[in-house]
């Protein structure tokens, strides 16, 4: 090996994908082998936009899109939680009910008992954490499949929600409070939204340059700067256009930005920490993880707790969006929408594959369809059928991509 030979370029069998052309070639190879990444989502969003705009031009108006983002944050947060369960190859079917219970706890404590709302939120989140811990203990102690325990939990939590709300059936939350304005009205001033739109690109540039420096110093190959710059520029362009368009109407909701920031934090947890790596390992091969010294039981407890806590947080956002805690909160299609969003975004139902970003992408697809169907004045019977078909389609794509990955030797 010569001095200039990079560690990871020593083997002649490795093709060097240099520069933009190389990156493009590597991308096409990945897609062909079934590693679809974000491709189905972007295509799906495009198709949805074209179809619904042609049926009702209101769909693409900036006001409607702002509304859509307000709606997306609540389900998106629930979806983010369930990703942690799906990554382990487990599932939580009670996330909808959990979000309903959380909104009921918020309403009862805040309005009926008179507790300050931040404390009421903490109580709701704690209820979520405890529920998750119970599911994980049932799995760890008794080997009860999460499918069954959370199905039982779905009913039990629904009962708890009805019990908490009592005879009144619904509690109206104070309109003037910060929480409700956060969920219904508050949008960013234009300058702040433009500023935030530039941040992701800047982060990519700064960390990309740092990564290149460190890899070069360690005698490893680094992605070429043209690829990093192209990524940053294209992302910034897309975000700036989106922000400009939204600012033609009401603007960018604080709630959606809050949601995206949490997503970014969880993506860091999943990809850059030992805990996240352990989740991937347990989802990929539980026995291997156990032998590597990972405490599988503890990882499960944390994952289920994270899942139910985010479900509770989503319920609180949903309550603030509707300004009420009602019997209907968290029922109906919330459960499946959240799980479908995760799967559509690219998190596998079979465990060991996924990312936090899949919650954002998936929820945009689901919420766009839901919003578009509402604009068409379709009855909820049709809406449920169409959303059901979309979910089935997403799982089929996931399954096919998995088979293709297996035959191409990719995980």
């Amino acid at each position: 090996m010569t001095d200039t030979q990079k560690f990871d370029r020593a083997d002649t069998r490795v093709r060097e994908d240099e520069g933009l052309a190389g990156a493009a070639r590597a991308f096409f190879d990945r897609v062909r082998s079934g590693d679809l990444g974000m491709l189905p989502v972007i295509l799906g969003l495009f198709v949805i936009a074209v179809v619904f705009t042609s049926l009702n031009p209101v769909f693409m108006r900036p006001q409607n899109l702002t509304n859509l983002l307000f709606d997306a944050a609540a389900v998106g947060l629930i979806s983010l939680g369930v990703i942690f369960c799906l990554m382990l190859g487990e599932i939580d079917l009670s996330i909808g009910s959990m979000s309903g219970v959380a909104s009921a706890i918020l309403g009862v404590l805040w309005v009926n008992v008179g507790v300050p709302w931040p404390l009421a939120i903490l109580a709701a989140l704690a209820a979520g954490a405890i529920t998750g811990a119970i599911y994980a203990s049932l799995l760890n102690r008794f080997g009860m499949p999460s499918f069954v325990s959370t199905l039982a939990g779905l009913l039990a939590l629904l009962g708890l929600q009805l019990y908490l709300l009592g005879n009144s059936g619904s509690i109206n939350l104070p309109f003037q409070s910060f929480l409700i304005r956060f969920g219904q009205i508050l949008v960013m001033p234009g300058w702040l939204s433009y500023l935030l739109a530039v941040v992701p690109g800047a982060v990519i540039l700064v960390f990309g340059a740092q990564n290149r420096r460190e890899r070069a110093a360690a005698n490893l190959s680094a992605p070429s700067s043209s690829v990093v710059i192209a990524k940053a520029v294209s992302l910034t362009a897309v975000l700036l256009i989106a922000v400009w368009y939204l600012n033609l109407g009401r603007g960018v909701p604080y709630m959606f930005v809050f949601f995206v920031l949490i997503i970014a934090g969880m993506e860091y947890v999943l990809t850059r920490t030992k805990f996240g790596r352990s989740i991937f390992a347990v989802g990929g091969n539980r026995e291997a993880a156990r032998r590597a010294g990972i405490k599988v039981e503890r990882i499960r407890i944390y994952a289920f707790m994270i899942c139910s806590t985010f479900a509770a947080a989503g319920g609180i956002l949903a309550a603030s969006r509707l300004a009420s805690a009602s019997r209907q909160a968290g029922t109906g299609d919330v459960n499946l929408n959240a799980i479908a969003a995760a799967v559509i975004g690219g998190t596998s139902l079979f465990g060991g594959r996924g990312s936090a970003w899949s919650a954002v992408l998936g929820v945009l697809v689901i919420q766009s369809i839901s919003n578009g169907l509402t604009l068409l004045n379709l009855s909820s019977s049709l809406r449920y059928m169409i959303l059901g078909a979309v979910l089935a389609l997403a799982v089929i794509v996931d399954s096919l991509a998995r088979q293709s990955r297996a035959s191409h030797g990719r995980a």
């Binding site: 920490t273 030992k274 991937f280 995980a411």
Partner: protein
Amino acid sequence: MDGPSTDKELILKLSGVSKQFGAVTALDGIDMEVHKGEVVALVGDNGAGKSTLVKILAGVHAKTSGTVEFGGKEVEIGTPGRALELGIATVFQDLALCENLDVVANLFLGQEVNPWRLSEIEMEVRAWKLLGELAARIPSVREPIASLSGGQRQTVAIARSLLLDPEIIMLDEPTAALGVAQTAEVLNLIERVRDRGHGVILISHNMEDVRAVADRIVVLRLGRNNGTFGPDATQEELVSAITGATDNSVSRRAAKRRGDTVEEGAGS
């Protein structure tokens, strides 16, 4: 090397190790020594107690009686964690790799550098250095395990066990599922592990592989020691020690085939 090596530092010494599962005696008074930089092959028929012995050393089972000395001191290996602490690493037959993770993630699984901000670059460099020392032929450490061949997976599993720099590494049937070329690659790898100064305990059914790399061959039969051989031992010697008789089904078969070829030779 002539016979059992005595010049190298003794790492592991088993004396009179026995293991009983209820009324069944799986191991009965086993003696074994492993020195630094030495490959000891453990052979025996099914039920001879090879796996039981490995599991005792890996901390999976507890021995019933006898002593295990490690580095000159008597030790109890109660848990798998204790075995690793002492410096006894085990590569089980099913390898236990996560197919969805890449080579670096698998090598460092459970021992990641910097838990709250994984040092991917440091781990990658260390992975390349370790694989380089083993002259392992892994094209890219950023590919998921799913894309590797059986021999490459075995290499990754062995490399992972070396990460904690153990004194002894135990390999359970490392070549059982491999083709000819991949087997040769793994055998080369075992020799390089030995040359790094580790003691290697190799469990195998394949006499050819065993004689190719082992410095000593310990034969177990029905839970007892049944002889120790050098690498120059003949197939017949080993087979008779393993089966417990000079006249056995394997030797009869071999004799019959020799007879066949002689007849064919005479006929043509």
